[in-house]
């Protein structure tokens, strides 16, 4: 598994699976000048086929579970999933809903969790970096 692409430009695709928008706007805030992740080469892209990392927000509602799986399959290897927010990590306040089938790790494998409701942009950046470090470590062990 070649990870050289991870070293430079990390491209991120954002999947909202029924989130409340709180995490989603913090993800966009992380891209804009105050936090400016683009200086590290992290960039939000418009399709999973270009992405290295999937940022998943939301508790995964029933109709979104299948779509999330499909987006995950469309993302080329090597890939990492980062869950942003409390509801995606543990179902959070939506734990007893009839229309929530999450958390995210029930649907797709997850590399890193970013807790918080919503997490700060710094925490989101840290989550992405942690996921990448984890992937590099895994690749190192395989070699």
């Amino acid at each position: 598994m070649g990870l050289s692409s991870f070293k430079r430009a990390l491209w991120v695709f954002h999947v909202a699976t029924g989130s409340c928008n709180g995490c989603d706007i913090e993800i966009v805030a992380a891209l804009t000048p105050r936090y400016d992740v683009e200086r590290f080469g992290i960039k939000l892209v418009g399709t999973p086929r270009h992405a290295d990392v999937l940022l998943v927000t939301g508790p995964v509602t029933r109709p979104m579970a299948e779509r999330l799986k499909r987006v995950y399959d469309q993302t080329p290897e090597p890939k990492a999933v980062v869950v942003v927010g409390g509801c995606g990590s543990t179902s959070g306040v939506f734990y007893d809903s009839y229309n929530v089938v999450g958390p995210v790790d029930k649907i797709v494998p997850v590399a890193a969790y970013v807790p918080g409701c919503p997490p700060r942009p710094e925490a989101i950046i840290h989550g992405v970096v942690t996921a990448v470090a984890k992937l590099e470590q895994l690749a190192g062990e395989k070699r």
Binding site: A16, G18, G22, I25, R62, C87, Y98, N99, R120
Partner: protein
Amino acid sequence: MAETQNVYEIPIGPIHPALKEPIRFTFRVEGERIRGVDIRAGFAHRGIEFMAMKRNLIQTLYLSERICGICSISHPITITLAVERAAGIEVPPRAQYLRVIYSELERIHSHLLWAGVAAHELGFDTLLHLTWKVREQVLDLLEELSGNRIDYALPIYGGVRRDVAPEQIPKVEAMVRYYRGLLDELLDAFLRDPSVEARTRNVGILTPKEADSLCAVGPTARASGLSKDVRQDRPYLVYGELGVKAITPRDYGLEPRGDVYDKAVVRLLEVAQSLDLIETCLYEMPEGEITSFPKIPALLAFLKKAEGEGLGWHEAPRGEVIHYIRLEAGVEEPIVWKVKAPTYSNLMSWVPMFRDQEVADIPIIAASIDPCMCCMDRVHVVRDGSPGTVLKEELLRLSRAKTDRVTRHLSPVPRHGGGL
């Protein structure tokens, strides 16, 4: 509509880069022209109203905040207004002013957010970065006042949870000054920029008649020239004393056309209006208590005894939001809680707005009503585990059956608390 063989369908969504939230459009296009659109919503439905029926009212308050992360002051304010009417709770004057300050701060952050997103949908990312850079200032202030950038947990039944301390007042004033100084630059960047104008003028038009008949609310309706604002039409809190007037493009010296440009005009002018309201509230705010129930257990005990129904309304950044609540004595949970978010009213205005527009304008037209799916998706049909389609008659029958089920064990509740 003249259907020819050249009309074909483009499905977009539910996951797509134009909006961050899941929704599916099916466009019927003829070449580059959109001839019709079908919208399938419901992907963000989390069953919040149902969950509330198993939680006490304080837990419901925090649940209401998670309806939408952008309107995380509007929804709690509206549910507190509804519960206060149902239970007959007085709100101290200072708390009412504080609620206005917080909700206007939210409006500034939401409108700037929209402006940035709109610029992004136009492909003008420089402007996105500029707007979101200046937006951080109001988030800093909200963090200073509430301790959080998003999801502020400020309103509570009977008042608010945090006061504006004397040493924080200069920070609020500094923010107001900062945005006043910037406003002209923002108006320049959005309204006097030829490329923005070319992409937004006469794009996605909603005529006043259509806006009226489709019951559009908020900036979507005001951009079409309707003088429609809950703060003006049905004043609540201290908005009546503040004398809020609905802003239409006429305030900018333009005859309203209802296009995307007009929607930008209205939202940017509302930022200025919110700044004025915050400043007025800051100086006119009386001293005193910030809540009538400083102890949460006392509040819970009072709410458990309360009986009645109440309606709360509020002008959220996207338009009118309404919460209906019904309480029964001896029960901690709300018996019924119904939320009507602004996007629900605005959604159908997409149909005339998309008609005969170009495919390339889909993102900006979709974004122009500032849609919020997580606010709107209140219903999702799950039958034997698989979602199906429900027609109007069936929906009516289902909702009547539910009303029947909900009210069967209830004695008729007298309306009190006024305002209904």
